[in-house]
Symmetry: C2
């Protein structure tokens, strides 16, 4: 039964096209062509575009969880794990430059489709909870979630401006600053002074 494979391939390709083109703009025919299958076959696996979108969201969630679990299993210090997260925007710059952050762009589209949808922040919540845990491991208590949100917000802003200006140097500099900030968090546990500029 190669249908499971087909179904998975559909979700993977859909996740890619939803990212690079946008959900609304990507058609069933686009997907069928890219997959080398017929439109009818695609419809057989997903009766509606919304069903496909839900599957894609599930796929992204699983993918993200797997990545985060891997980082947590890699016996790194919590601040190094956070730096590992920050490095994504450099690692994936080739795509982010053209298509933005996959999490941010999908979330924005989902909010527009349905403002009250839980899905809009599900992937963000995965990162948020994971980052919070890392900050807690660093000894930060009360403000762990606040710091996690700041890291998320920071990376989102950098992705948008980096993409808008097509400026990789800016991105690298900002990530370097974020890395310093994370280190400063370790040194001044519970302190509120944060080094954000100059190396």
């Amino acid at each position: 039964m190669s249908s499971i494979k087909t179904r998975d391939r559909i979700v993977e390709v859909a996740s890619e096209l939803f990212y690079t083109q946008g959900v609304e703009v990507t058609s069933f025919l686009d997907l069928a062509k890219q997959l080398g299958i017929s439109k009818g076959n695609l419809y057989h696996h997903f009766k509606t575009k919304n069903a496909l979108l839900n599957a894609v969201i599930g796929h992204r969630l699983g993918q993200t969880q797997e990545m985060l679990d891997g980082w947590e299993g890699a016996s790194l210090a919590p601040e190094d794990r956070i730096k590992r997260y920050l490095h994504i925007v450099i690692q994936n710059w080739g795509k982010i430059r053209f298509y933005g952050c996959p999490v941010g762009t999908l979330s924005s589209e989902l909010v527009k489709r349905d403002p009250d949808s839980e899905d809009a922040h599900k992937v963000f919540s995965l990162f948020r909870d994971w980052l919070t845990r890392q900050f807690v491991d660093m000894g930060i208590k009360d403000q762990a979630d606040e710091f996690a949100m700041r890291v998320l917000s920071w990376s989102q802003g950098v992705a948008i401006l980096g993409s808008a200006f097509g400026d990789f140097d800016y991105v690298k500099k900002e990530v370097a600053q974020m890395n310093l900030w994370v280190d400063k968090c370790r040194v001044n546990r519970g302190s509120s002074d944060i080094k954000t500029l100059e190396e």
Copy 2:
């Protein structure tokens, strides 16, 4: 000759729908219905959707420039002008919550349409240069542009996460933090220590 009026109305409504629905998703029929005119009339004023998009970008640029000029003419201290900018996300939260930041979302769409387009960062550049000027007026020399980009990035990140989580309290807290940071910039001119947490 009421055609100029019609043309302006088209651009205004298009700017609104491009924001709330997205450029790709908004059709000529959507616009015509909203405007109460025929599709043919719309085409008489703008031969192509791209021409309309360009007009909308020009409109946004003029609108933004006018707003910034107004703030600069309002005889405020430069740090208060920056705070005035930061306040936008609170002031326009009603729409940002559902449709994101109009500058960020349009920029993202423009990059996807044409990665090398100058238009993608034109509005951002307006804010960037204006913010840089304010920081210079505050006595910050070398890092004025860096600080401007940080303010931009910060507001973009907050808009995205605030919208994704539908959390106005988070937005207000972050803006308060940004305000403190701006004040700290004034106090520690040229210093690199930045207060980002706790009030």
